[in-house]
């Protein structure tokens, strides 16, 4: 489910959490947790906010058919 966080690159700055317009991210253990993945708009703001290029996207199956 988008977004996916790279734990090697993520420094948990929290920018993505603040900038997510859907407020679907929360602080996780090593990376932010996508607490409400079905409420993601796939807008890309989390990646735009990330200073470490730690965000990528995996689209769910139902969006690929």
């Amino acid at each position: 489910m988008p977004p996916v966080f790279n734990k090697e690159r993520c420094h948990m700055c929290g920018n993505c959490i603040e900038d997510c317009p859907g407020l679907i991210l929360e602080i996780g253990n090593e990376v932010p947790e996508v607490v409400y993945p079905e409420e993601c708009w796939h807008c890309g703001n989390c990646r735009i906010s990330c200073p470490e290029n730690a965000v990528s996207y995996e689209f769910p199956l139902y969006m690929r058919v």
């Binding site: 317009p21 708009w41 796939h42 807008c43 890309g44 703001n45 996207y57 139902y62 690929r64």
Partner: protein
């Protein structure tokens, strides 16, 4: 701005209160501030990413008076101020055309990536049936909101992120402020203002879903669910055209995203399942005609069994144009566009893009005068026009008018403390409920009704049944429970969504014709020339009222 602590929470006083920090609210706040007003700007999200433009945008509409008659104020007024639109020539000229240059100046200053041609002029395209090339292309459109936000913060506007407005306050006949709460922690706020500009988003999401069934996978922001209409309605505002202004588009199959402006205006050809290019039957400008014709035409082809699938074919583009469209414009409209195309294996030059009819978005127009003031004294409407340009220009104009009125002798009014306490209790009540219905259940029930009875094909019987079922769903409104603040926010979004769905149904019932909206009515399949007027709704003492014409 004055901020005070009270037993209920913070109380904030200002000259001009702007609700909603999308491009409309951002424009309103900038303009009001520049008029000399103290300005407070609220949004339930963060300024940098909230609103429709939080997802990016790849075109900005501007009349530049470059010479042709089609690039003039008159041409813009003629196109947008048609009798049925509810927009007066004055609104379009003053609220949109005259704000385009000042807004462009702001955007240029913030280094928005307007694309230029070799001679240094803006690269513009003609789209959506418009007579002239009005759409300036934008590169890097995925960050436009952040760039606009930078300007808002630099202007000294008092920005309150993460505050969801739940109610407008009234003193006598006029608006006096609002109540809101912090979506992260439930802290309650009361705002007192001399004038209020409502910019909460006129295009409403989550009332229906596309083929994926996920309402958050949407063309427009899924976090805009109708408060722009519902909150003013509750204090007596009139609303126009909740029937004919409902919006729909074509989306890439499976991916809720805008982009049809670029795809159509660069020459994309729509094909049905038989490989036929059919849009010439529905609009003399084919795919580059009115968006509503593309929606109506595709739906007719569907009824005729000629799709799905439907496609937008860009394989005839040059490599350069195909690359520009897919890799420059489209990600400006949604930043993850090519993350998605990569994962599904789509290349615009190689294969036609499968598209689908989108979810249907409730939409309309708050009734305003030429100064953008609604029929509620002191309440101004920032969301009068479509598109980034329309929203930002209209927002600016509304902000200017509100500031001028506030500074000319606007007064703050006392807030009813009992009412504020009751509102705080109502707002937070779902957190206290152990039993009841979750927001997902409440909201998916709404969509069940809207998707089934209020889709692309409707009838009197179906609309009435939809209303009955929405009324039944409404009996659960004070039974919604929320396990945490996130769910509480969604609960309030769902409550607003319910109300806008009801108002949309009530409006659609009265327009007994087909052809002016994205949907058709089986019981009234033809256009009725007598209905070439906006349909205005309001309520008096709880009774629904309507009239034809401004």
């Amino acid at each position: 701005m004055n901020v005070m602590e009270t037993p209920l929470g913070k109380m904030v006083e200002t000259d001009v209160l702007v609700l909603g920090a999308g491009v409309s609210g951002s424009g309103a706040a900038i303009a009001a501030k520049r008029e000399g007003a103290d300005v407070v700007l609220l949004d339930k999200g963060r300024l940098e990413s909230c609103g429709q433009a939080g997802g990016g945008n790849d075109h900005f509409l501007a009349i530049l008076d470059s010479g042709p008659e089609t690039d003039t104020c008159d041409a813009l007024v003629k196109f947008y101020s048609r009798p049925v639109s509810g927009l007066t020539p004055g609104m379009v000229e003053n609220g949109w055309y005259r704000m385009m240059r000042p807004v462009l100046d702001i955007l240029v200053e913030e280094k928005i990536g307007f694309v230029k041609t070799e001679d240094g002029s803006y690269l513009r395209s003609q789209g959506f049936g418009q007579p002239g090339s009005w759409w300036i292309h934008v590169e890097g459109g995925q960050t436009v909101k952040r760039q606009i936000a930078r300007r808002v913060r630099a202007e000294g506007i008092n920005v309150f992120d993460f505050l969801l407005t739940t109610k407008l306050c009234k003193s006598g006949h006029r608006v006096s402020g609002c109540m809101a709460y912090d979506v992260r922690n439930g802290d309650f706020y009361v705002f007192k203002a001399k004038k209020v500009v409502v910019c909460l988003g006129k295009t409403v999401a989550r009332a229906s879903a596309n083929s994926t069934g996920n309402p958050f996978n949407s063309w427009y922001s899924p976090y805009v669910t109708g408060a722009h209409f519902v909150l003013p309605w509750e204090i007596g505002a009139k609303i126009m055209n909740l029937d004919i202004m409902q919006q729909a588009t074509l989306e890439p199959k499976g991916y809720g995203a805008p982009g049809m402006n670029g795809i159509n205006n660069m020459g994309g050809k729509e094909l049905n399942a038989l490989g036929e290019r059919f849009m010439g039957k529905y609009d003399p400008m084919w795919e580059n005609g009115l968006r509503i014709h593309q929606v109506q035409g595709t739906y007719q082809e569907f009824l005729d069994g000629k799709g799905p699938p439907f496609y937008m074919d860009m394989t005839h583009f040059t490599e350069k144009d195909a690359h520009y469209l897919q890799y420059v414009l489209m990600p400006g409209d949604k930043a993850t566009y090519n993350d998605w195309t990569d994962q599904v294996g789509i290349d615009f030059k190689r294969d036609p893009l499968e598209v689908e009819l989108s979810e249907i978005s409730p939409d309309g127009l708050l009734y305003t005068d030429d100064k953008f003031e609604t029929n509620v004294e002191g309440l101004f409407n920032g969301c009068a026009f479509i598109s980034w340009s329309g929203a930002m220009c209209g927002g600016c104009y509304a902000g200017m008018q509100a500031a001028e009125a506030a500074l000319k002798g606007g007064q703050l009014a006392d807030i009813d403390q009992k009412a504020a306490a009751a509102e705080k209790e109502r707002v937070l009540a779902p957190l206290e409920r152990k039993n009841g219905v979750g927001y997902k259940d409440f909201e998916s029930s709404l969509r069940n009704v809207m998707d089934y009875y209020m889709g692309y094909a409707r009838s009197e019987k179906g609309i009435r049944l939809a209303l009955q079922k929405l009324d039944f769903i409404g009996t659960y409104a004070d039974k919604i429970k929320a396990a945490n603040h996130h769910e509480l926010m969604r609960a309030h979004e769902a409550l607003a969504l319910h109300k806008i769905c009801v108002l949309t149904c009530l409006t659609c019932l009265e327009r007994r014709e087909s052809g002016r909206a994205v949907y058709r009515r089986g019981d009234f399949p033809n256009l009725d020339p007598a209905m070439e007027k906006p349909l205005v709704i309001w309520h008096e003492e709880g009774k629904f009222k309507f009239s034809w014409g401004r």
